[in-house]
């Protein structure tokens, strides 16, 4: 579990990125931070692994104050996936995935074998192992990014708009596989997006941020759609019309899940090639 | 260190500022060789670079790119002094033309490569937009490509100019005038003050040319392009 208690982030120029945030992020679930740009959602995410240090308040991970852990050690225990994947251009796919295990001093051969298993798990052909990131499509690179974040088996995964840079068809496929993967691994996932559809689709809990770094509402998708806390949240959901649409999509997804494997997955793999 | 002060007092000696061996006439000689070589270089390399820069498609583009780049690398490898001496030994000493040939050979590649690269780096999207607005080929070249390629073209011209001024110094070794005269004569007579005086003059001239091009860049290149390409 990750907790924020009265956390603020102010920059020297006076900008307030995050304003008195209290938040409890449950273990083993996907929590989505959503909001327009400049609302502090990414800053909030980055304060968890201390890529940004909070100005006030306390952040704990499983009861430990993150300030008491030195940043590199903290970060090696938390997976991180970003929009451009951030793959190392000078390392092969398999070595990219094995990065953190090797940092932790694990055996090189085992790390590579494990990386190959992970490739399969995220739906990547093992034949890609010896390639370099430039030789992969955007969707494939994102899968590598996810595999790399999982490689050291961290209990927590931070994901910053991981699927925003790929086209909609591939994105849908990645989201579906991501949900399937999460069913297997049950990580504590904090997921940042500006896309409310994605938030409703993936989130077990959704935290809606508004400009100025204030938390507007923190609820399950159902509660959020049923009772938006204020006018800002209602607008962000797209008004009554948007809420109806989001509910409809949500029901469709539920049916898809019931009917088992989706056709999307296959379509996505084809599109990735 | 004293030797350097001696060199500085050399500037104050009588006769240094007049006559055929005076600084003004040596400066005129140096500038004359340099300007001549520079103009020939520009006349050859600039149009060629502009032309070749437009070859962007197909196998020909690859070949052109390779040849242009290779010429720049080759020019760096050519030993200037060797070429100068060879040109003189094969013809007759004291003539200007055999000196100009190596000067031009060495100065053409930097202008060619940078002009070529400058034109090549104009984004195809920009060119599309210009044509889409109804610009003719000439208008695209003059109003879009030239201003955008200008920083690199100026860089090429500067490199060539500096190269020429340096190499023109060596021309004195094969019997011509210019500031190099002081260095060669000073060395022959073991008069260090004269050598150092010549060296300082050439260095100052080179730095002035460098600054001239920096100023030119400031006034000729659009601030929008300058900000984009940095420094």
């Amino acid at each position: 579990m990750i907790t924020f208690e009265g956390v603020s982030k102010r920059y020297p120029d006076g900008t307030v990125a995050v304003d008195h945030l209290d938040l409890e992020i449950p273990a083993g679930r996907i929590t989505v931070l959503v909001g327009p740009s400049g609302c502090g959602k990414t800053t909030t995410l980055r304060m968890i692994n201390r890529m940004v240090d909070a100005t006030d308040g306390t952040i704990t991970v499983d009861g430990r104050n993150v300030r008491d852990v030195d940043p590199p050690t903290l970060r090696r225990g938390i997976g991180y996936v970003i929009q451009q994947a951030g793959l190392f251009p000078h390392r092969t796919i398999v070595d990219n995935i094995a990065t953190v295990p090797l940092l932790l001093g694990r055996n090189k051969k085992e790390a590579r074998t494990h990386a190959l298993e992970l490739m399969e798990r995220v739906g990547l052909d093992a034949a890609l192992a010896k390639r370099y990131p430039v030789q992969l499509s955007g969707g494939q690179q994102q899968r590598v990014g996810v595999a790399r974040a999982l490689a050291a088996d961290p209990p927590i995964l931070l994901m910053d708009e991981p699927f925003s840079a790929v086209d909609p068809v591939v994105r849908t496929g990645l989201q579906d596989e991501f949900l399937r993967l999460q069913d297997e691994v049950e990580k504590t996932i904090v997921f940042v997006t500006h896309d409310i559809d994605e938030a409703v689709k993936l989130g077990h809990r959704i935290a809606v941020f508004q400009v100025g770094g204030k938390l507007a509402q923190y609820a399950s998708p159902d509660e959020l759609l049923a009772a938006p806390a204020n006018a800002f949240v209602r607008d962000f959901l797209g008004g009554d019309k948007g809420i109806r649409r989001l509910r409809f999509t949500q029901e469709l997804e539920a049916e898809d899940d019931a009917s088992g494997q989706t056709a999307d997955t296959v379509a996505d793999k084809a599109a990735d090639r | 260190m004293n030797a350097i002060f001696d060199a500085l007092s050399w500037f104050g000696e009588s006769g240094q500022w007049s006559g055929p061996d005076g600084i003004p006439s040596r400066l005129a000689e140096h500038l004359w060789y340099s300007l001549l070589a520079f103009l020939i270089t520009v006349a050859i390399a600039l149009p060629l670079g502009l032309l070749l820069g437009h070859v962007r498609h197909g196998r020909l583009a690859g070949v052109v790119g390779f040849v242009v780049m290779a010429s720049a690398n080759a020019a760096r490898a050519l030993p200037t002094l060797g070429l100068l001496i060879l040109a003189v030994v094969l013809t007759s000493a004291g003539d200007l033309v055999p000196i100009l040939i190596p000067l031009v050979i060495l100065a053409v590649p930097p202008v060619l490569v940078n002009t070529y690269a400058g034109v090549q780096q104009v984004e195809p999207g920009l060119r599309d937009a210009a044509e889409g607005m109804g610009m003719t080929g000439v208008q695209v070249a003059l109003r879009l490509e030239a201003p955008v390629a200008l920083p690199l073209i100026l860089l090429g011209l500067r490199t060539a100019a500096i190269q020429i001024i340096s190499t023109a110094t060596l021309a004195a070794y094969v019997g011509l005038g210019g500031f190099g005269r002081y260095i060669m004569d000073g060395y022959a007579r073991q008069e260090y003050d004269q050598m150092a005086g010549g060296a300082i003059l050439v260095a100052v001239l080179a730095v002035l040319v460098q600054l001239l091009f920096a100023l030119l860049r400031r006034f000729v290149v659009s601030p929008g392009v300058r900000l984009q390409t940095g420094s």
């Binding site: 940043p71 590199p72 090696r76 938390i78 991180y80 970003i82 929009q83 451009q84 951030g86 190392f88 390392r91 092969t92 990065t99 940092l103 370099y132 430039v134 | 260190m1 030797a3 350097i4 060199a7 720049a72 690398n73 760096r76 490898a77 050519l78 030993p79 200037t80 002094l81 060797g82 070429l83 001496i85 060879l86 030994v89 094969l90 940078n114 690269a117 780096q121 690199l152 860089l155 490199t159 001024i165 340096s166 190499t167 110094t169 060596l170 094969v174 190099g180 260095i183 060669m184 060395y187 260090y192 050598m195 150092a196 010549g198 060296a199 260095a203 080179a206 730095v207 460098q210 420094s231």
Partner: protein, 243 residues
């Protein structure tokens, strides 16, 4: 052995006997001196420009002044620097090595800074987020990615140095350039041609070896041709030093 071409007095461009007569003494000695005079500055310049470039990349405020100084240095004619240095170091190898080291710096410092600037920000961020400390990130992520640009600078500096060393011949410190002055004094083209050809070959060979090293250490650069950025050769166009 028919003459390749003739000078104005019927002297052939190359007399092969001269080459075989002088191969082991004059030519070999000149070559040895040339190698020392051109590679010592490359090595020294590399050792200095790496920390200097890193400092400029780390403290951006240093970069503009450094760039201004190196661009002035680059403009100074080698012969002028050689002559001025004689006052301090006399007619020794140092007189040639110091200016060429400065030229190497003027090419390599921007090379290191540009190379580090070419590391995508998201890659740097990802490295930090995975728990790389600053030093490890530099050594394992940033420097390897910067390597092609740095190597391009190193190649330019090496080739320029090899050709510039010969200018030192005017003061009797020119390696293969000594062959040029010999040729001029005797009005005899063979040594000049031999010198020019050897300098070019040496430059070409060094360039190829460095390119081979670069390729061996950066296999990812050859992978997938689609997203290749323009090669660093272009970035390093100005080249180092002038005669």
């Amino acid at each position: 052995m028919s003459p390749l071409a003739a000078g104005d007095d019927g002297e052939p461009l190359i007399r092969w006997e001269w080459i075989s007569n002088n191969l082991t003494d004059d030519i070999a000695e000149a070559l040895r001196e040339h190698l020392i005079l051109s590679f010592t500055p490359v090595l020294l310049g590399f050792l200095v420009s790496l920390p200097l470039g890193l400092a400029c990349a780390r403290w951006k405020r240093l970069y503009q002044p450094t760039l201004a100084i190196t661009s002035i240095l680059y403009a100074l004619p080698a012969i002028a620097l050689f002559v001025i240095l004689i006052a301090f170091t006399g007619l020794t190898y140092t007189t040639v090595v110091v200016p060429l080291t400065l030229y190497t710096l003027s090419v390599l410092v921007p090379g290191v800074v540009d190379g580090l600037a070419a590391v995508p920000d998201h890659v740097r961020q990802a490295a930090t987020a995975m728990g790389f400390g600053p030093l490890r990130r530099l050594l394992q992520v940033e420097l390897p990615i910067a390597l092609p640009v740095v190597m391009a600078g190193l190649r330019v500096a090496t080739v320029s140095n090899i050709s510039l060393v010969s200018v030192g011949a005017i003061m009797g410190l020119g390696g293969l350039g000594q062959l040029f002055t010999t040729g001029l004094q005797r009005d005899f083209p063979t040594p000049i041609v031999v010198g020019v050809v050897l300098v070019i070959l040496l430059a070409l060979l060094s360039d190829l070896i460095l390119l081979g090293i670069q390729r061996a250490f950066t296999p990812w650069e050859r992978a997938g041709g689609t997203r290749r950025r323009k090669t660093a050769d272009q970035a390093a166009l100005p080249g180092g030093g002038a005669a």
